[in-house]
Symmetry: C2
Subunit: 550 residues, 2 copies
């Protein structure tokens, strides 16, 4: 049987657009001879719809879209597509109002053929909030031209005891559908990218094909949904090899034939290239999907803003990016030179708005309540916030979105000014550690200088007071980042972190306090492109608490 992997980019709530894309891909699949066209999880309404799922009007619009789809799928191809299904039992036996389901759409008809059993409820995922799990995944098996097909949905494929070394959930739906006779297993997914995620996921699908001795067809959503970046990476494989090479960060329809041997070998792209692609997709999707064209950002001459500007150019084109340098009394001469060099390299619009007048005006205005005090953090923050006001003024005036340039290291320890440099509609690199920022910047210069080399090589500084350096109050980033990874991404204890990294326990404890004491800043931090499975919005810590380690 010929099966099409329809890796499409949906948008939450864009029912007409999503149906249109499904019909177009099904039409291409049919033209390529496919009998079965497989689409991502919840492709009809888009994923994740979050609390829109609590609106009855949203559910009604979904059902209309599904009926519309049934009328528009061309004859000859059966579509398997992720959709919502009302849980008919909810009123009498209790439970959530919805199932996360799979519809088989063919010949003008629409039948639910599978329901999701395993509901991710961790990190950014809240599926137990909305869905009632399927308790009989063995029923997710159906006949297509004499071939038994078993369908599972995303997380359903993530509980292979042999692959993971432990059981995460009680039931393994893949095992169940195979036991129920499935000769082909399809997985409809909406699995966002994260560092290491694609290769892990591919290995997991291949392990399942090998273990169960059936071909696996894994189809994943692609495209950016605000913070989550779906990479696609759909794959078809057997124990012998692969039939479809995963394509990342692009829409893609590929047909595979279950009658032919699948013997291809997998090639994996390098991490930095994937991170770059995720950032570019994320900026483009956020800006374009939601009706904007242009972005603006502050250029300090430093590496973070240089990288974000370059990513924005790669996402939107140089014509749609404006950089603004805002030198103060304390800015080094090289800051402005480096910012201008970057803008020249990238070919973006560039303005210089010095903030000295504003610094003086704020000092004069605040004089009645600052009289007799020593300049300190308050005055430093005023500079950062004055810049934030200028950038938002430009954004408001010219219909641009402001990009936030902070990285994950400074976001973790709170080395940023809320309502100042944190301002923005989107933070593209706040889930990249500073050492990763350098690595990506060097990679972007692989064919010639785009980011000024001095921005990469000079010691990082916020330049909020004379001769300030990040290392005045923080360890070198080469030492800091591994510690923060332990504390933030692995939730290791202070003691275990010190042991793993070799940093003194007192210093680790100080850094952990910085992380804890800056939760209030992250609570108000902009949406952040999620590039790891421990990005800020999925790390739900109390804003304030009294837990201390050491």
């Amino acid at each position: 049987m010929r099966v099409a992997l329809c890796q499409i980019d949906t948008t939450v709530g864009d029912f007409d657009g999503n149906v249109q894309r499904i019909v177009a891909a099904a039409t291409r699949a049919l033209a390529a001879g496919a009998r079965l066209a497989v689409f991502p999880e919840l492709a009809v309404c888009g994923y994740p719809a979050e609390d829109l799922l609590l609106r009855r009007a949203f559910l009604a619009a979904h059902d209309r879209a599904l009926r519309d789809l049934a009328h528009r799928v061309p004859a000859g191809v059966d579509v398997l597509v992720g959709c919502l299904e009302a849980n008919e039992d909810a009123e009498c036996t209790g439970g959530r109002a919805l199932h996360n389901a799979v519809a088989r759409v063919s010949e003008g008809r629409c039948r639910i053929v599978a329901r999701k059993s395993l509901l991710p409820t961790y990190d950014v995922f809240d599926e137990s909030r909305y869905f009632e799990p399927c308790t009989q995944p063995e029923q997710n098996v159906f006949d297509v031209d004499g071939m038994k097909v078993g369908a599972v949905v995303c997380e359903d494929g993530w509980n292979d005891e042999q692959f993971f070394g432990r059981r995460v959930y009680a039931v393994d739906p893949v095992e169940r559908v195979v036991a129920a006779g499935a000769q082909l297993v399809v997985n409809l997914s909406a699995s966002p990218w994260a560092r290491g995620r694609q290769s892990f996921r591919t290995r997991m699908v291949m392990a399942a094909a090998k273990r169960h001795g059936v071909p696996m067809v894994y189809v994943n959503q692609v495209g950016g949904d605000v913070e989550l970046q779906f990479d696609g990476g759909s794959i078809a494989c057997t124990a012998d090899g692969i039939a479809a090479q995963p394509v990342a960060f692009a829409e893609h329809v590929e047909v595979v034939d279950t009658d032919e041997p699948w013997t291809g070998r997998l090639t994996e792209p390098p991490l930095v290239a994937m991170q770059h692609a995720a950032c570019v997709q994320g900026i483009r999707a956020y800006v374009r999907k939601f009706g904007f064209e242009k972005v603006v950002l502050g250029l300090s001459g430093g590496i973070d803003s240089a990288l974000v500007a370059t990513l924005a150019v790669d996402a939107l084109g140089a014509d749609h990016v404006t950089g603004i340098a805002m030198p103060s009394h304390y800015s080094s001469e090289h800051s402005l030179v480096d910012a201008r060099a970057l803008a020249d390299n990238l070919g973006i619009a560039f303005h210089v708005l010095p903030i000295a007048t504003l610094q003086d005006a704020f000092a004069a205005t605040l004089e009645p309540v600052f009289v007799g005090t020593t300049p300190g953090v308050a005055e430093e923050n005023v500079q950062s916030r004055a810049r934030g006001v200028l950038l938002m003024a430009f954004a408001n005036k010219h219909g641009a979105l402001l990009l936030t340039t902070g990285n994950k290291s400074e976001c973790a320890v709170g080395y940023c000014t809320l309502y100042g440099d944190t301002n923005g509609a989107l933070a593209p690199i706040a889930d990249l550690w500073k050492t990763e920022v350098w690595a990506m910047s060097r990679w972007l210069n692989r064919d010639g200088e785009r980011i000024p080399v001095r921005s990469i090589e000079k010691p990082p500084s916020a330049e909020l007071r004379p001769d300030q350096l990040d290392t005045d109050s923080l360890p070198d980033y080469e030492r800091l980042d591994p510690v923060l990874r332990c504390l933030v991404e692995d939730e290791l204890s202070v003691a275990a972190t010190a042991e793993r990294t070799g940093m003194a326990t007192d210093e680790v404890a100080r850094l952990f306090r910085l992380v804890q004491n800056s939760e209030w800043k992250r609570y108000q931090y902009p949406p952040t492109l999620r590039l790891t499975d421990r990005c800020w919005r999925g790390r739900r810590m109390p804003v304030s608490h009294r837990y201390r380690e050491r």
Copy 2:
């Protein structure tokens, strides 16, 4: 048997402090002759600990605290206290790592006697993220001096089919423990207050006592945890009446005797008084629990800032509150007069920092990028943001927390400037509709003017341009608020909202678009005291999507 209802105020992660409070209350209970002292849900670690529950070091600290507690509870009284329990089965059969459990602590020993079955996973509650549910609540029954006691935890009491008119979950743990022989049912809760919540909860507990013919002892956490405001409101009741009158927003230990008839009648406090108490507790807890003493806020002469200032005075005392008026070119004369009158009424520190110089400095600085444009929203926002910078500068300089003065109506439609008037560590009234703001302000003036009458009576205006009024772009709040309640709190469709409120469908649709188009502002909105069961952080909408109604 004499039972003590120990309604205590815990702090997340403050293991020493929480154990100290439990021991102190148990000692008082013993002195009052209690055999059994009942405490709130998860009182050992504090609720909600969120992702701190994912840190092994946190769990180890919890277990040490529980052992410490066992050694310190005085002989003669058995303590029932909410605690964490490792799910021993997780590694082999799958499932979450923890149970939300109840420990019976007596004679130096600690035994788990009950586990929670129903895990709230809606609104602000994410318990399925952390806990494995108990599937055999009938085992939550144990013997105390010959009396069979059944213990349930919070949500376990919220699935009475007869009371709710429908089944929410498959199992009713109260029914199960009674069927297993419980002669007394205790409920250990951490149930935050919301409009209408206390009386609903009390009626629910009384209905259970009546239906099952057993006495119910319901003990709830009190105190503020950032956004969530726990009211306590603990109660003991039988079918015949109550033994303990609910005490709201205060720590309280009360003993009741199961051998005596419980025939008291319930009295319920008025809503505005409860809202006021919740706000006052919330401000006080946020400021004091986390190491601050002082707050600052902008005083516009309008009603919102006047109410927040008054609440802050009631929470912290006038000595700890500073108001700052920041008149602009467009401020009316009465704005400054009314702000000063409020400060005089309340006896708080008051400063005037005119922003005209800043407006001019921003205009001059922005001239290169604003030249040839018409003044509009960008210039209006600059004013609001300049004020935001001043307030944060004061807060940073003087170690005060900035309070945000926005109300729920303007937060809902995005009638606020991000990084401007939304700045703040806490938003005390962003879950109060504007009409509720007026009602509470009038109530606060019941014994004489605290809030200037003109602030209550004048038409609301942001004063960002000459003669601006809120009603230039919004309906009167008396018409607006009921519509927003339907759209935001009830998630009614545009059509259903128009039908219920009588507002024209097109106008409702326009307001719904305003709500949807301001999600990005609320994403970065400060922590908000939760006063309804549909406050912002519990309403999880995509920042951007393409769903439209009409």
